[in-house]
């Protein structure tokens, strides 16, 4: 079974250095990059599926030219190869451009399942997977808590998180599945995985290689732009209760009751 996972390098939320450039774009040089956390859940799900059913996992990303370093971390978790789409025309691209570029890159690939994270920690729009499915004409199975492919039947069954439990969906493959944390914690890369990742194929393509013109997808034709931004107010200082257990419990209960948490 061939699985493609969409991954995006995002500023490391733990570094706390996310900031925008004066023209409202994310300043990617200001912060170390990591694989978007939701994409790691998708990758973990993909790796488990190929362990169970055989096959390979490929990564596809649209990102700045420095992304291979971040993609290597995803390869170290066990992905077999990666494709990075990067182009000088792409910085500032909107979700529509991103969707068109990814769809163009995926047209050249053969896969049974296309997995994506629910959203990214930088942009957070959460619409790219749906857009890709629409452009490629793929069944779109969102908010998966469980993914059960039947390679022989050529179908996939997904438990979709619903307000009252799960919806069970079935679709023919290839299909796009949006992954959630319910699929399980991503693995730590093993040291051998890190070593092996260095020799795995990581191809790079530009817009021209995909036959996409900068009129269709680029920063210049962005359909959205950031006009203003405000930093969230700083969190009030943490209150630490250092009383003996009985008194601490009383104060904790009072604290939560004041806020109607209990």
């Amino acid at each position: 079974m061939q699985i493609v996972v969409l991954v995006k390098p995002v500023p490391d939320p733990a570094a706390g250095a996310e900031r925008l450039t004066p023209d409202g774009q994310l300043d990617r040089a200001a912060s170390p990059a990591v694989v978007n956390a939701n994409d790691e859940y998708a990758l973990e799900a993909a790796l488990k599926l190929v362990t169970a059913h055989g096959g390979e996992v490929s990564l596809v990303s649209m990102a700045p030219a420095a992304a291979p370093e971040t993609m290597r971390k995803a390869l170290a978790m066990g992905a077999h190869r990666g494709l990075l789409v990067t182009d000088d025309a792409l910085p500032g691209a909107c979700t529509l451009s991103t969707t068109r570029v990814l769809a163009a890159a995926l047209r050249d690939l053969e896969f049974d399942l296309l997995l994506a994270g629910a959203d990214t920690s930088d942009g957070g729009a959460g619409v790219v997977p749906a857009g890709v499915a629409a452009l490629l004409g793929l069944p779109y199975l969102s908010y998966a808590a469980k993914i059960e492919p039947s390679p022989d039947a050529g179908t996939v069954r997904v438990h979709r998180i619903a307000p009252n439990g799960f919806d069970v969906l079935e679709a023919p493959m290839p299909a796009l599945v949006v992954c959630t944390q319910a699929l399980g914690e991503p693995r730590y890369p093993s040291l051998k995985g890190i070593m092996a990742a260095r020799s795995r194929e990581l191809a790079t393509k530009g817009l021209a290689d995909l036959g996409v013109s900068s009129d269709e997808a680029s920063g210049a034709v962005a359909t959205t732009r950031v006009v203003d931004s405000t930093t969230p107010p700083p969190r009030p200082p943490t209150r630490v209760i250092r009383e003996p257990a009985d008194e601490a419990a009383r104060q904790l209960v009072a604290f939560m009751a004041e806020r109607r948490l209990i």
Binding site: R72, A76, Y188, P189, S190, L191, K192, I194, M195, R198
Partner: protein
């Protein structure tokens, strides 16, 4: 050709491996450290974690299923783990120490027999040289191995053997020629499977630090091992032990640097947060001076360790000197830095609510084992006086 100078620069690969171990240490090992110390039980879960993530496979060549890295990379891993838990860092350091005699002196057949399981972390190995009456004077070993046909019969005992009670294999150094003209030819090295009849663990020491690492007293009574378990030739034992120390002492230096770094980080964080006289104590110059000295000593020890690893890996003729230099400097740095960390934390440093008292207790062992600091000075001085 100019002799190796210890010039090094961390490769991209080394940085990646180091950072991966650091993440694992911070997220999975650090939360266990206090309990490992308190319970004084060998952390089997951490051993499994290190095996699963190939960390125990670092010192082994790829052909045996290991990661096949160099000495510096092994030390980077020991350092990162020891930064949060010295006991856990020691699991890798002892595994390497025990395996080195096989890596250095084992035949192809012996390597095929033992290394794959060791590299995968399925088996653990310990190193048994020290005896009650043979510590710094390693050639005074009294344990005897007597040839009997295709076997040797080993009688005697060992003391202070790290992981001796949890290892599947123990490299035992025993006298095969007690009356040898040269004392360095008295000993031979044997790989002993610990399930053989005649092998017994007779005591686990109660220790000041590295409390989760079982330190065992071993007794051998008519313990029979096949001659094919002997490493090298009869009489090679002492030389094998000394060559082992050239590569294992940097591991202890790495443990020491890690402990120092861990204590430094906690002391610096505490100095930012703890307020006295209406301001953080980090604004007090006396605290600043302590922190600056701690950082300088830790970094100096680290740089000497990395340089030593590079020189040893490059085949330095004075490898024993490099190994002794880095272990001496790092062990002393760890002791000073952890002692000062307790001082920065004041009363809070003296109680087990903060980890620095544990780190101070753990640091002390790095001045003692794999050769006391006095033995390191002896090695360095001999090298110096021989060469000049």
């Amino acid at each position: 050709m100019t002799p190796p100078t210890g010039a090094y620069r961390l490769s991209d690969e080394q940085v990646l491996l180091r950072d991966a171990v650091r993440v694992l240490a911070d997220e999975r090992i650090a939360p266990r450290a206090a309990e490992i110390d308190r319970s004084a039980e060998f952390p089997e879960d951490i051993r499994q974690l290190l095996a699963t993530h190939d960390i125990l496979g670092l010192p082994f060549p790829e052909q045996y299923g290991g990661v096949g890295t160099d000495l510096l990379t092994v030390c980077l891993a020991i350092e990162q783990i020891s930064r949060v838990c010295a006991t856990s860092g020691l699991i890798l350091a002892v595994h390497e120490l025990g395996a080195l005699p096989i890596l250095l002196a084992g035949s192809d057949e012996q390597k095929d027999r033992w290394l794959p399981d060791l590299a995968a972390g399925r088996t653990l190995i310990a190193f048994a040289l020290t005896e009650a009456e043979a510590g710094s004077d390693a050639s005074a070993v009294r344990t005897r191995a007597v040839r009997d046909g295709d076997e040797y019969v080993i009688d005697g005992g060992k003391r202070f053997i790290s992981q001796g009670s949890v290892a599947d294999l123990v490299v035992v150094f025993a006298a095969t020629d007690p009356a040898a003209e040269k004392s360095s030819r008295r000993l031979s090295a044997f790989v002993v499977e610990t399930d053989r009849p005649g092998f017994a663990v007779t005591r686990i020491e109660h220790k000041m630090g590295i409390r989760g690492s079982p330190t065992a007293e071993l007794a051998f009574s008519a313990l029979r091992v096949p001659a094919s378990n002997r490493l090298g030739e009869e009489g090679d034992g002492f030389g094998i032990a000394m060559r082992t120390f050239e590569r294992s002492r940097p591991g202890i230096a790495a443990q020491a640097v890690g402990i120092a770094q861990g204590a430094l980080e906690i002391a610096a964080r505490y100095a930012r947060e703890r307020k006295q006289f209406g301001r953080p104590i980090g604004e007090l110059q006396m605290i600043q001076a302590m922190l600056a000295d701690m950082d300088a000593q830790t970094e100096a020890a680290r740089q000497l360790l990395y340089a030593s690893c590079a020189a040893i890996e490059d085949g330095a003729g004075d490898a024993a000197r490099w190994a002794a230099l880095c272990k001496l400097v790092a062990g002393d740095a760890a002791m000073r830095v952890t002692t000062d960390a307790v001082q920065v934390l004041g009363g809070y440093g003296y109680i087990d609510e903060f980890p620095v008292e544990r780190m101070m207790r753990d640091a002390k062992i790095t001045q003692l084992y794999e050769g006391t600091q006095q033995i390191q000075r002896l090695v360095i001085a001999r090298s110096l006086l021989r060469d000049s």
